[in-house]
């Protein structure tokens, strides 16, 4: 018997409170189809109680009550027969089922869009907070559904865990009812937190607030995923659209609904007031109209993120409009103006299908763009460029005008990328490397590749030659020797064939959605090392090209005199000290275009660290390589730069270079101002004194503070 593809599990569609209202009770349960998990592969226990699967482990410990809640067994035939437990606030096992189901749903959303498997961010430190020699593989994200006694939930990068809280409903001002509010019973909060975790797995440095957009981006992106994922569920929109009577502008209605999602999340995400709010005077919900000036004066991560969410939402509505134009005409005898009264059920179902499709497509665009982001210091403008680039590669002809819709919406909200001459699709696509630099890189890869494979090939040939030449050996003696040669040869052949499957010395196993995640992780580490050594040895040796590399790729190599001394170095006395290069990620990305083409990219993220100093005089000294005083360290922060290279694996041609120059003085100046709290830009620090920001040390739980229901001074303390 073949295992089924899906496990059906029931969850709340909206807040549990809707199950107690007559009008909404029936529509508040939705059945999700999550991948069927059973045998989880080598070295892993089978899918079991918790639930514990391949990606997720739900551990229901409640520390404030010092107790566990019995883990659910989803393989219990009684549960399989009825799509899991029925939604219930009072049964912790249902809570476990729900977090598992929504978490898996979110993972699948990402895997489908990216065309590869999701990895959790690697573990860098051990029990005692010391750095591990090698990055640790984390097979599963852990989820604690009842970890906190507050209306808060967060992703902990340290523990690779989601912590959900609960609180009596009465403690919330806007809600006077008995019982508890459980954050783990909100689909949107779960999806939001999952997105934080997945994003951290792809871009670790995006938890490092190096400019005012970084954390806001984390929030906004998580909200967009939560929102668009919800809209892409069947059945959610039908009701709304049916009630819409003739007015299909969609704008208000969809936004209002999205805003209700935001409201249910409380101050949790950026969404709450992103799209509009109730006008207390008129008592009506009013959409927020775009104001390009808002972005200039909004700096709190949530409020700033709200602007990005609003820009995306506008795009979604536009795409929906584009997709339904014909339907509207058909249903209105060509006028496009629908008559008042109830809509035909078929029309409702077609419209909601289009809305679903629009949500799905926009969501995919957003997720795919993650591979086209700079490795550090992301801004909203960078993300816009990433989306445009990713989408241009995959869908060269923008027939429906999605990219234009996106651009227009961003423009209305004042979200402009830096350093672009005009806001057109062409000028927003990331630049490619110059011919010379591209060729240099290509040559380096080739040279490296030939050296490696040449050694193997040569070895094999000489052994075979040697064996063939020994003609004068007795036949009896010859056979064992030939056997031996055969053995060696086949071993080498294996090595070679493995190598030839590689791309320029890089391991390349299938990165699709069926591959072994641990293997993928380990190959990635190995590939990182390969490229790292390629760059540190080969690039560094080539003095003549180091200037080009610096200019083109945004990191420094070689030993020219004018390389800032504040860039961290590695190497030895014998071989010389070179600016240290870190290869943070080497990943393959394959995705299928709507036309059925498969586009594969090799994505390499290279970063470099430079010490930044709050005191500019100190900075100048450090850049000149002069010795600094003892207490200089406490006056410093880590300034990162580097690039993401998008490489065509067939030809080793660099398609795009997405760089954040480590030598960019202007960026350094801005980051200094931002980190020191009050800058000309009016930015504010996010976690206490910004001097506290150190690698992986942005407070113990960066998202814990960010998500506090009341953002008291908690994230900023100046007593």
């Amino acid at each position: 018997m073949i295992a089924p593809r899906y496990r059906r599990l029931r969850v709340y569609a909206f807040d549990p409170i809707f199950s107690r209202r007559l009008r909404t009770a029936s529509s508040n349960v939705v059945t999700l189809r999550v991948p069927w998990e059973e045998k989880l592969g080598d070295g892993l226990a089978d899918f079991g109680k918790g639930p514990v699967g391949e990606y997720i482990e739900v551990v229901d410990y409640d520390p404030s009550n010092e107790c566990f809640y019995e883990p659910i067994d989803l393989n219990d035939p009684h549960l399989i027969a009825q799509d899991g437990l029925a939604p219930s606030e009072g049964n912790p096992q249902f809570h476990q089922q729900m977090v598992y189901a929504v978490a898996m749903q979110t993972i699948k959303t990402f895997e489908r869009a990216l065309g590869r498997r999701i990895l959790w961010s690697a573990r860098l430190r051990d029990e005692n907070n010391r750095f591990l020699n090698k990055r640790g593989y984390v097979p599963r994200l852990r989820i604690y559904p009842h970890a906190l006694r507050e209306a808060n939930a967060y992703y902990s990068p340290r523990k690779k865990a989601l912590l959900f809280g609960y609180t009596p409903a009465s403690s919330r001002q806007d809600e006077k009812r008995p019982g508890m509010i459980f954050t783990c019973l909100s689909q949107d909060i779960i999806a939001h937190e999952m997105t934080h975790a997945i994003l951290d797995g792809i871009h670790r440095s995006f938890t490092e607030p190096s400019n005012c957009d970084v954390l806001a981006f984390h929030e906004a992106f998580s909200d967009c995923v939560a929102l668009l994922q919800r809209f892409s569920l069947p059945g959610i929109l039908d009701h709304e659209i049916a009630e819409n009577f003739g007015d299909l502008s969609g704008d208000n209605r969809l936004a209002k609904m999205a805003s209700e999602v935001g409201k249910a999340m409380g101050k949790h995400g950026a969404l709450r007031d992103a799209l509009g709010q109730m006008n207390p005077k008129s008592g009506r919900w009013e959409p927020r109209s775009p104001n390009p000036e808002d972005i200039q004066k909004t700096f709190h991560p949530h409020e700033r993120g709200a602007i990005l969410v609003a820009a995306f939402f506008r795009t979604f509505v536009e795409i929906y409009q584009i997709r339904t134009r014909d339907l509207r005409r058909i249903a209105s005898g060509g006028t496009g103006i629908l008559q008042k009264g109830a809509l035909h059920p078929d029309l409702v179902s077609r419209l909601s299908k289009e809305a679903r499709k629009a949500a799905e497509q926009l969501l995919n665009m957003c997720i795919r763009a993650l591979d086209y982001c700079p490795p550090v210091d992301i801004t909203f403008g960078d993300f816009l460029r990433a989306i445009i680039t990713a989408d241009t590669i995959l869908v060269p002809d923008d027939d429906l005008g999605y990219r234009i819709a996106l651009l227009e919406s961003f423009e209305q909200w004042g979200l402009y990328p830096e350093n672009v001459t005009s806001l057109s699709v062409e000028s927003l696509v990331w630049p490619t490397a110059s011919k010379e630099a591209g060729k240099l890189f290509q040559d380096l890869l080739r040279e490296f590749y030939q050296e490696e494979s040449g050694a193997v090939g040569g070895g094999l040939q000489s052994i075979q030659k040697m064996a063939a030449n020994r003609k004068n050996v007795m036949p009896e003696a010859k056979q064992p020797m030939l056997n031996q040669v055969e053995k060696v040869a086949s071993g080498l052949e294996k090595v070679r064939s493995r190598k030839t499957q590689q791309f320029y010395g890089l391991l390349y196993s299938e990165w699709d959605t069926r591959s072994d995640r641990k293997k993928v992780f380990e190959e990635m580490l190995e590939n990182q090392e390969t490229i790292n050594s390629l760059l540190t040895t080969s690039f560094a040796r080539q003095e003549n090209i180091s200037r080009q590399i610096r200019e083109q790729f945004g990191f420094a190599s070689g030993s020219e005199n004018d390389i800032p001394g504040s860039i961290r170095k590695s190497g030895s006395k014998v071989k010389g000290h070179y600016p240290a290069i870190q290869v943070n990620s080497v990943r393959w990305s394959s995705r299928e275009s709507p036309d059925g083409d498969v586009v594969t990219d090799l994505i390499v993220e290279i970063t470099q660290t430079r010490m930044g100093y709050f005191d500019e005089a100190l900075q100048r000294k450090a850049d000149k390589g002069e010795p600094l005083g003892k207490d200089a360290k406490s006056q410093s922060f880590k300034f990162r730069g580097g690039c993401t290279l998008i490489i065509d694996p067939e030809t080793a041609v660099i398609r795009y270079v997405i760089k954040k120059d480590v030598e960019d003085q202007e960026r350094l100046r801005r980051q200094r101002a931002y980190r020191s709290g009050g800058s000309a830009l009016g930015l504010h620090s996010t976690y206490e004194s910004c001097h506290a920001l150190r690698e992986d040390e942005i407070g113990e739980e960066p998202f814990g503070l960010l998500h506090k229901n009341d953002l008291s001074g908690s994230d900023l303390y100046f007593p």
């Binding site: 883990p71 403690s171 506290a692 814990g704 953002l711």
Partner: protein
């Protein structure tokens, strides 16, 4: 120290991170010694040589005033404003002195019901935070524990010191906002306006707000959400949970009574999330380890002989206590907002000195709702600000204790000077503990505000730790600086300025 008619001398002591201001006001009888007014006397918890420094300060006060203080003002219940009344050595001096009158805010009034309620809820939170700090410390959550302890340093059992100081005066007054102008017996030529803490139907709203609002921020450069919920409310759960789980030792140390525990347990009973049939107590789960792999595999319960279990790093015993940080901040902001804020007017010139204590946004905003009448004229807060020539910068020049549009930008007088009682050295040692063992530091003074002060005062800003700059600041105008230098003088113990 002397005071001629129409002139005031202000002495800022330089004990460290803490407030202590001695004012010599013109006396009613021109032949008599000046009218001495002292505003606060404290030094931050566990500052180096705390007692010694305070003893120096108190001795100097005693000598300067010849043992007679006309008025003692206690702004609020924080260590860095009151620890001068803590140690036996200083207490002996205070007790030997004559203190005519003590002023404190209505929030300290033992007969005021609202004030009592507020103090009660503060005390509970304080105890709960004490427990949280100890637990976090024990759990090696050093960063959080350090953070809490830094904050708790403001309020370490200060109530007793406040009460001691309140008892020193022959008379005492609990001032209401909007009171005044008051003319204390024995002075002439000055009158005093009470600006805060607020007390009206919006009280909670005001007292709560320790941070600037999100939009149209009132302060310099920080835009942060106002606290939507009051004390007690959102942290009631955490407070009750902590009190209920306190050990006997903790109870004894923190003075937690049986009634406190009973109340906490009662509160908690209503907030259990699930029926008992679903729960497996921790002990029970440990026992099950042998039969049931789940808890061993996923919660790090290894048999004791095998040492630390693999998954230990993911356990969450104390993560929920991180909420205590937010609670501590709220408590701290709340106490700051109970600051008695005063404006002293020199009648002859109409010039004003502002002493805001450590008032934060809610308190500061509330000042604008009052009007005073003096000589048949109506006086608004804006009037007072316009005539302000001396500003004691609130809360050691932190980001949230000086308003911009409704504060500093209204202080347009050309003679404005600002005094900041601060110790950058101490502030740098607070905050959060970092991996390299150093502290992240509190931003005192907060750079953008400090910059604004320099501009407003034409560089006439004095920080107690640095003292009077020995050289003219580069950007200061020579003439102005020369005039300013004539009015100020300093010793290692204090900085003094004459104001008219």
């Amino acid at each position: 120290m002397n005071a001629t008619p129409n002139q005031i001398t202000v002495r800022m002591y330089r004990q460290g991170l803490g407030d202590c201001f001695l004012l010599a006001l013109p006396p009613e009888d021109p032949e008599a010694p000046p009218f001495f007014m002292l505003i606060d006397c404290g030094l931050f918890y566990r500052s180096s040589r705390e007692e010694e420094k305070l003893l120096e300060v108190v001795s100097d006060i005693n000598e300067t005033t010849a043992g007679h203080l006309n008025l003692l003002v206690l702004t609020h219940e924080h260590y860095d404003h009151l620890s001068g009344f803590r140690h036996d050595t200083t207490r002996a001096i205070w007790e030997a002195m004559t203190i005519d009158r003590v002023w404190a805010a209505w929030t300290e009034d033992p007969r005021d019901d609202l004030a009592r309620t507020l103090r009660g809820s503060r005390a509970r939170m304080q105890q709960a935070l004490g427990i949280a700090a100890q637990r976090l410390q024990a759990a090696d959550k050093e960063s959080s524990a350090f953070f809490l302890n830094s904050l708790l340093g403001f309020s370490d059992r200060v109530r007793g010191d406040l009460e001691f100081a309140l008892g020193l005066g022959r008379k005492r007054d609990f001032l209401q906002p909007g009171d005044g102008p008051l003319v204390p017996d024995g002075t002439a030529g000055v009158q005093i306006y009470t600006l805060g803490p607020p007390k009206n139907e919006n009280l909670k709203e005001y007292l709560r707000r320790s941070d600037p609002s999100a939009v149209n921020s009132e302060v310099y450069e920080h835009q942060d959400a106002a606290q939507p919920l009051g004390f007690g409310g959102p942290y009631e759960e955490l407070t009750s949970s902590l009190l209920a789980m306190s050990t006997g030792q903790e109870r004894a140390e923190l003075g937690i009574t049986r009634d406190d525990i009973a109340l906490a347990k009662r509160n908690l009973r209503d907030s259990l999330p699930f029926d008992h049939s679903f729960t497996i107590p921790l002990k029970e789960a440990r026992k099950r380890v042998k039969k049931n792999q789940f808890y061993k595999d996923y919660y790090g319960f290894a048999p004791s002989d095998r040492g630390v279990a693999e998954d230990n790093w993911r356990r969450i015993e104390n993560d929920w206590l991180a909420d205590a940080e937010a609670m501590a901040l709220q408590l701290d902001g709340h106490v700051n907002n109970t600051s008695l804020a005063l404006a002293i007017e020199i009648k002859a010139t109409g010039h004003v000195l502002i002493f805001p204590g450590d008032a934060q946004v809610g308190n500061l905003l509330s000042w604008h709702q009052y009007q005073w009448s003096s000589n048949d004229k109506t006086i608004s807060m804006a009037d007072l600000f316009r005539r302000t020539i001396f500003y004691k910068v609130g809360h050691h020049c932190s980001h949230n204790a000086t308003l911009r549009e409704k504060g500093l930008e209204l202080m347009t007088h050309e003679d404005l000077v600002a005094f900041i009682p601060v110790s950058k050295e101490t502030a740098a040692k607070k905050g959060r503990k970092q991996p390299d063992g150093t502290a992240s530091g509190w931003q005192m003074p907060f750079a953008p505000l400090y910059q604004a002060l320099l501009e407003r005062t034409k560089h006439r800003v004095i920080q107690s730790d640095d003292g009077i700059p020995s050289r003219k600041p580069a950007d200061a105008e020579a003439e102005i600086w020369k005039e300013f230098k004539k009015k100020v003088r300093q010793t290692d113990l204090y900085v003094e300025i004459d104001l008219a």
